[in-house]
């Protein structure tokens, strides 16, 4: 805002424009001077006031208004800058040159300086008023731009809000969330599939257990060949144990040798692993004995069926070869 230092002719409020210097400087923090607070120099609007019809002012219908007042606020009439300038520089007055010439004629040399000073003040005032007018115009333009921008932004937000409104309206609040159940229970379909899954898991586990049991039982059966179950075998075992007194010593030596010879141990280990693989893959090769799968196939008849099919094929092939041989002999 332009700060105008008003002169005596237009200064109506002397206190406000008092410049603080010299005396009482310390009162203002030791500053060399304090400028007066800026104030409006146009007492009346310089352009027609725009009335907002959407927001009516004044007294309501049933409310009486005080005497001497109006029901609706009076709209101030504009007092343009040109009118103000015309007031400062009236047309009927002489211009500065004429005034000075007149004063020279009359011999009032001292008055000439007063006239010059007064003229200067008027010019400065007009200049300040024009500057202020320009500033107000700029402010108006700025305000309008700002309003337009705000309007545009509000429109955009409204548009965005429209898009997100459905999401916003359907999102549960924490209160509503706390009212209902926190967890969604399983649907009947989900329950059914879960039951089936559990059942299949249980059956698979049971099958695995049974299979392991059968394998263990078969192993035990094979192992039981070496068990001492009657007197004859007991006598044999005792004889074997005592026929060579160095039996345990030799076993111990064998173990030591095995430990020392790592390659041999490794071979044995690999053999064992291979046996295990064969056992898992083909259900046999446990010390060249039939495994559980072979026995299962035999019991189910699948093995004999395969054997029959293979025999048939071999017979057919041998028949063909015989025919070929006979044909070649005939030729």
């Amino acid at each position: 805002m332009v700060i105008v230092r008003l002169n005596k002719s237009i200064d109506t409020n002397k206190k406000k424009t008092t410049e603080v210097m010299g005396k009482g400087v310390l009162k203002y923090g030791g500053k060399s001077g304090v400028l007066p607070s800026p104030r409006q120099i146009f007492k009346k609007p310089i352009k027609p006031v725009v009335v907002d019809r959407t927001n009516p002012q004044g007294y309501a219908e049933n409310i009486p208004h005080p005497k001497g007042s109006t029901r609706n606020p009076e709209i101030p009439r504009p007092f343009t800058l040109e009118q103000r300038v015309a007031q400062i520089l009236p047309k009927h007055q002489l211009n500065i040159d004429e005034k000075l010439a007149k004063l020279t004629q009359q011999g009032h040399e001292a008055k000439k300086y007063k006239v010059i000073r007064s003229e200067l003040r008027k010019q400065y005032l007009i200049e300040a008023l024009r500057e202020e007018e320009g500033r107000l115009h700029k402010e108006d333009a700025k305000q309008k731009t700002k309003q337009a921008q705000e309007h545009k932004k509000a429109e955009e937000l409204k548009q965005m809000d429209l898009e997100s409104q459905t999401t916003r309206l359907t999102l549960p609040t924490i209160e509503s969330y706390l009212e209902g159940p926190i967890m969604r229970e399983r649907t009947p379909e989900e329950n059914k599939s879960l039951r089936l899954k559990k059942k299949s898991n249980r059956l698979t586990h049971e099958l695995q257990v049974k299979e392991n049991k059968a394998i263990n039982l078969l192993d035990l059966y094979y192992e039981s060949e070496n068990f001492v179950i009657d007197e004859e075998r007991l006598a044999l075992a005792i004889d074997k144990a005592f026929e060579n007194s160095d039996y345990y010593a030799s076993v111990l030596a064998g173990v030591r040798r095995k430990l020392q010879d790592f390659t041999e141990y490794e071979d044995k280990y690999m053999e064992k692993v291979n046996d295990k693989f064969n056992y898992v893959l083909f259900g046999s090769a446990f010390e060249s004995r039939p495994g559980i799968y072979e026995i299962e196939d035999n019991l189910s008849g699948e093995f004999s069926q395969l054997a029959e099919e293979a025999n048939k094929k071999v017979e057919q092939q041998s028949d063909k070869e015989k025919e070929k041989l006979l044909n070649s002999l005939d030729n």
């Binding site: 924490i174 969330y177 706390l178 926190i182 967890m183 969604r184 229970e185 399983r186």
Partner: protein, 158 residues
């Protein structure tokens, strides 16, 4: 409602604020959600988000809470700090799992108006005491006093 779990949550929140964590995750349950909501309403935390063990959920793709994922569902609380100090400076249990305190409506009012009740320190300025009211709602002390109900004080925070 488990006071043991609530105690764990209180301790966890206090630990998180002491080491200046930005977010804290707590198991999702009705009680914890109530506690979080009260913390949020009183301005002790800045946000509550549902999420998994790993991260908060994307708001655009909400996840259903089912019996299959309930154990991994968490509440992610955004903690507040001011001048490098936690806004939630203190949180602790009032009733303990092995010492549950039941207060009558008169005692609740006395506690709310600044009196000691059975060695429970009165409500301090800017402090909240959560109470499980007689109608099984979880409210703050002032609300319970206004409703003229009794209840079990659960925890206090400031």
């Amino acid at each position: 409602m488990s006071l043991v779990n609530l105690a764990n949550v209180c301790a966890h929140l206090k630990n998180c604020t002491m080491v200046k964590h930005g977010v804290a995750k707590i198991p999702l349950s009705r009680l914890h959600l109530n506690l979080s909501f009260h913390l949020y309403k009183q301005g002790f935390i800045s946000a509550i988000q549902k999420g998994s063990d790993i991260s908060p959920d994307d708001p655009n793709s909400p996840v259903d809470i089912t019996p299959d994922n309930i154990s991994s569902r968490k509440l992610w609380l955004s903690l507040k700090y001011r001048d490098n100090q936690p806004v939630l400076s203190h949180i602790s249990l009032v009733s303990k799992p092995n010492l549950k305190i039941k207060l009558s409506p008169t005692e609740i009012k006395a506690l709310a108006s600044g009196l000691y009740v059975r060695k429970i320190k009165p409500l301090q300025p800017a402090e909240t005491i959560l109470v499980k009211a007689d109608d099984n709602e979880i409210l703050d002390l002032q609300q319970v006093a206004a409703k003229n109900l009794g209840g079990m004080p659960l925890c206090r925070f400031r």
